[in-house]
């Protein structure tokens, strides 16, 4: 099937293109980009007036939950959620049961993903740093990378031991792979349900200090300084950690980081509702931290927007706040929150948003560059940056509905994706 996408606003940071153009796609490849393109007979045509056509968005932090937790999400439902959210690629985290610490699991995930909607969403597994994610023995990184692992992390838990972290950075660095750290000094966060500060005090809630994130990021940056390696901070959430990454970048270290939409949108004030969908790890922080996320996004310290899509079933979240599991779904609200909170207030241009959702995560992970130019494989995200809509979690394609954004009006709506020769329209 051939496609002509007409009148879209084509924005491609890599070719520095931003303008209204038609895109002709033949056999999954971009045949032409330009004005008033003529389509061969039998070409499916779509008018994309007012729609941004961007290189495909990649969410580098997603919990697909399979294998082991299929009651929360499966590869199939997770891919549908990604497609509905405007992502042509997701990186799935290894805190499954069993953990993604064996090449056979990587192959299984990739195979299953290819069967979902004709493989329109690429799933790139991130493998565990340590066997069973137990923080002690390195997982077989050469084998895992050979099977398709694009990076390594023990996400959900930190690599706590400094010596293990050093060796992981060295070994992964040798493979030109990034170690992604869930930065949490767990001796300081035991039992915590929210960020420590005025709100946790007012609610009498067991709390986790920001310093628990900062000390791990600081330690890791010193390791990167000593043992040259590629290091990425997952779901950064504190001003202190952003400042550390800024300094590390200034010093020329290969240190990058990502922020979730909820960490640049919500503060710990949201916890006053005792809504368990405001409980995540890292927790919602103070207004000052949210400001630091926006500053970091604006000045380039924060490279990537990633959702930390963390599905949990209704029953699991329908308990006392302290007992609820951490995490919220994020794939289907990411573009809306990013446009509403970052583009509309002028913190990022749309082109910069695209860099943080497509160009930068792919660069960090060593995935193929996406360009919107003749000859390139068509890998596209389509979204309407002006469309207002109201979040209805019951309409989510994700198996889980645990979002604090239900009922919120957002501007910016994903409309579809094109990848691997397949057009998916929401």
């Amino acid at each position: 099937m051939n496609y002509l996408l007409k009148n879209g606003r084509v924005i491609d940071p890599l070719t520095d293109h931003d303008g209204i153009a038609d895109i002709l796609i033949v056999d999954g490849r971009i045949e032409a980009v330009g004005k008033n393109l003529k389509a061969p007979a039998g070409t499916e045509q779509h008018d994309l007036t007012g729609v941004v056509v961007a290189p495909g968005f990649t969410d580098m932090h997603v919990h697909l939950r399979e294998p082991g937790f299929e009651h929360k999400e499966t590869i199939e439902t997770g891919c549908h959620s990604a497609a509905a959210g405007g992502f042509t690629a997701v990186c799935c985290m290894p805190n499954t049961q069993p953990a993604i610490d064996d090449p056979s699991i990587i192959r299984m995930i990739i195979e299953r993903a290819k069967k979902v909607h004709q493989g329109v969403v690429d799933v790139y597994p991130v493998a565990a740093v340590t066997k069973d994610r137990n923080g002690k023995l390195l997982a077989p990184m050469i084998e895992l990378a050979g099977a398709g692992a694009v990076a390594f992390t023990d996400d959900g838990a930190p690599v706590a031991d400094a010596e293990v972290m050093r060796r992981a950075l060295e070994y992964a660095g040798m493979l030109r792979k990034t170690v992604i750290q869930h930065a949490e000094e767990t001796s300081m966060t035991k039992g915590g349900a929210m960020s420590e500060g005025f709100v946790s005090t007012a609610l009498g809630m067991p709390a986790m200090p920001r310093a628990a994130e900062d000390v791990i990021v600081a330690r890791d940056i010193h390791l990167v300084r000593s043992f040259a390696a590629q290091y990425h901070v997952a779901h950064i959430s504190t001003r202190g950690a952003v400042d550390l990454v800024r300094t590390a970048k200034r010093d020329g270290l290969s240190v990058t980081c990502e922020v979730t939409p909820h960490h640049f949108t919500l503060t710990d004030e949201a916890v006053r509702s005792f809504d368990t969908n405001t409980k995540m790890n890292p927790p919602l922080r103070s207004a000052d931290d949210v400001e630091a996320m926006k500053e970091g996004l604006r000045d380039g310290t924060i490279d990537v927007i990633a959702t930390d899509h963390a599905p949990h079933s209704y029953d699991e979240k329908e308990v006392e706040y302290v007992y609820a599991p951490f995490g919220i779904v994020g794939l289907e609200t990411s573009i809306g929150l990013s446009v509403s909170e970052l583009v509309l207030p002028g913190i990022l241009t749309i082109a910069q948003l695209i860099e943080k959702c497509s160009v930068n995560p792919r660069k960090i992970l060593g995935l193929p560059e996406l360009r919107i130019e003749p000859g390139a494989r068509a890998n596209l995200t389509l979204f309407d940056p002006a469309k207002e809509w109201i979040v209805d979690t019951q309409k989510f394609k994700s198996k889980s509905k645990n979002s604090p954004f239900h009922g919120r009006t957002l501007t910016g709506k994903p409309l579809g994706i094109f990848n691997n020769g397949v057009l998916f329209l929401s």
Partner: protein, 306 residues
């Protein structure tokens, strides 16, 4: 005039008129408690479930007596006997109990926010009898009642709460309630037991007890949990009692008369010396008596409003 809410979940944000109404109503129930027959028919036919997921002999008995003296039918459920051990959720437990046509639930629970959550899943009136380190509103109300009874007012009275502020629902409810009533509140304890940014609740923070006592009319002394040593909140209880124990010597040094309260149960010789607990400054047993009257007041006001 009824209370502004169907539930008593906490004193955070509660109008001062509600507090006044509860304290004033408690005064009439205090009179009932002095009668030979300490019972009124106000809540006849109402069923109150005392749902205790944490051990608490004192609070549970106080509530149960209050319920019986209002002629309500109390039903007690404690965690030991409960289906919680079999893995039932709070929501299921509460909804099952509610189907048996109960009117009010008094709940003690280890998790902050549990009472708020309960009020969202049941239709009965919910009274929070302590949720984690969040709130314990009836304790704070009985503390306020006791102070008002002794000093005649709460306006501009200086109250210092001493001890483990960080893990105390009593401290938090007292701060909210006392601030609403125009009292001046300070907290005193080792820095490890003072929670982050508590000054933003409008309280002064002291690390030195003598300094804290200098301006205080009332000391509300909290029980120190023995296990606080385990996570490095405290080096030793001996050191704690030397630095923060309320003793007759300390009270004698104070420039103005100070009354001493304690929510109980007391660790004699740790946070408060036996002489003080049993002495002329102590309002501790008065608090226990007032607790029944205040709980009668809360049960009555919520139970007769609908």
């Amino acid at each position: 005039m009824p209370l502004s809410s169907r539930h008593l979940l906490g004193l955070d944000g509660i109008p001062s008129d509600d507090i006044k109404l509860i304290l004033d109503t408690a005064t009439s129930f205090r009179e009932v408690l002095e009668r030979p027959i300490k019972k009124v028919p106000s809540l006849q036919g109402k069923t109150v479930v005392n749902l205790f997921f944490e051990n608490s002999t004192r609070t549970r008995i106080s509530f149960e007596l209050a319920e019986r003296r209002l002629s309500a039918d109390p039903v007690n459920m404690s965690a030991d006997a409960s289906s919680v051990r079999k893995g039932e959720t709070l929501k299921d437990t509460a909804r099952n109990i509610e189907m048996m046509k109960i009117d009010m639930v008094v709940m003690r629970h280890a998790a902050a926010g549990a009472a708020h959550y309960l009020s969202q899943v049941v239709r009965a009136n919910v009274i929070n009898a302590g949720d984690g380190a969040h709130e314990h509103p009836t304790q704070a109300l009985l503390d306020m009642y006791t102070i008002r009874e002794k000093l005649g007012t709460l306006q501009d009275v200086n109250i210092c709460i001493v001890g483990d502020i960080a893990h105390s629902r009593v401290a938090l409810s007292n701060i909210y309630g006392l601030r609403a009533m125009g009292a001046k509140v300070s907290v005193c304890g080792p820095r490890t037991l003072i929670p982050a940014e508590i000054d933003r609740l409008g309280v002064r923070v002291h690390y030195d007890l003598d300094e804290a006592m200098a301006g205080a009319d009332v000391l509300n002394v909290l029980r120190i949990q023995l296990e606080r040593q385990d996570r490095c909140f405290l080096p030793t209880l001996r050191e704690y009692s030397q630095a923060y124990g309320v003793t007759p010597e300390r009270l004698a040094r104070a420039k103005r008369p100070i009354v001493v309260m304690h929510p109980g149960p007391i660790n004699r010789g740790v946070e408060i010396s036996a002489d003080v607990a049993d002495g002329e400054h102590s309002l501790i047993l008065q608090q226990v008596l007032n607790g029944v009257a205040v709980r009668m007041s809360v049960l009555y006001l919520l139970g007769t409003a609908n």
